[in-house]
Subunit: 194 residues, 2 copies
Amino acid sequence: MVRWEPGAPERLQQAALELFASRGFEQTTATEIAQSVGLTERTFFRHFSDKREVLFHGQQVFVQAFLDGVQSAPASASPIEVVAAALRSAATFFPDERRPQSRMRQAVIDQNSALQERELQKLASLAGTLADALRARGVDELAAALAAQSGVTVFAIAFAQWIREGEQRSLADITAKVLRELLTLTRKGTSARL
Amino acid sequence: MVRWEPGAPERLQQAALELFASRGFEQTTATEIAQSVGLTERTFFRHFSDKREVLFHGQQVFVQAFLDGVQSAPASASPIEVVAAALRSAATFFPDERRPQSRMRQAVIDQNSALQERELQKLASLAGTLADALRARGVDELAAALAAQSGVTVFAIAFAQWIREGEQRSLADITAKVLRELLTLTRKGTSARL
């Protein structure tokens, strides 16, 4: 019989983050994470395939936030306008009270190249999903790939800024600024021979 | 005494590609790769830290091709113009006769998630190096990060198109087209509220 553990994934995730941050990712086992919140290793593996995955829990909800934004854009929106709507929606997934946890998670990832590679893979997968959603709106393949990837670039750069020590602005504000900068930059690029 | 092996890295690389493609990456050992071209395992590990690295040999020369392009851009060039110069230079690294080998390499990478993650990491590292080179020219941090990452996006999308079955255009032509499309796309994005 499987006993239901209220909020087990969230408790395991918080415990894992704290242990990874204090002892290091390599030095922490799944069993230790589970035991630190009074759960068993078996419960751990019921929720996560390995200890890397604890750091990427919630990826589906994160991707869905972008897709909800795509859906909310009017039919007449240009690909970049659709991406802008996706970014606005994604920013609501990271309210300011989440900033300390996001900062702690990033510090763990920055110290382990396998985690960095997994993070990049998740972002690449997000770009692929976004490109599919744009194509489903009738955007051609090349434009969809470029707009989706540019959206992910803006998100990643804005997110890195959002979690910097001392940063006060919301992720929504930073994302809007980074997107405007991208548009300014590419407009300046058109003056000469490319 | 270390015996000099003429062209050993290139011979190992070619042999590895063929074995990975025919037997699968997982099923091929470093020893088998070395033996297939009459070399020892020791020679293999003198040139590569592991069998994944065989597929990423030459990364430094590849990155240098982008940097040479950055250097060649006039001081007055905008960040996107500098990136365009980097892309033109990088395209010369992949002449058409390299297309079959690049295609074979990609097929191996596409079948292994650890290799895909490594590939993404190498592209992220390229973006970081390009951003540094732009900053060294006086481009501000945000613009440098965006322009560099956009350049890598254009390169990756163009490269994927270049190695498609039946594609005849050169990488230089495809890259120029993808970059123009990015500029068109972002110009269309400015009409409404972002």
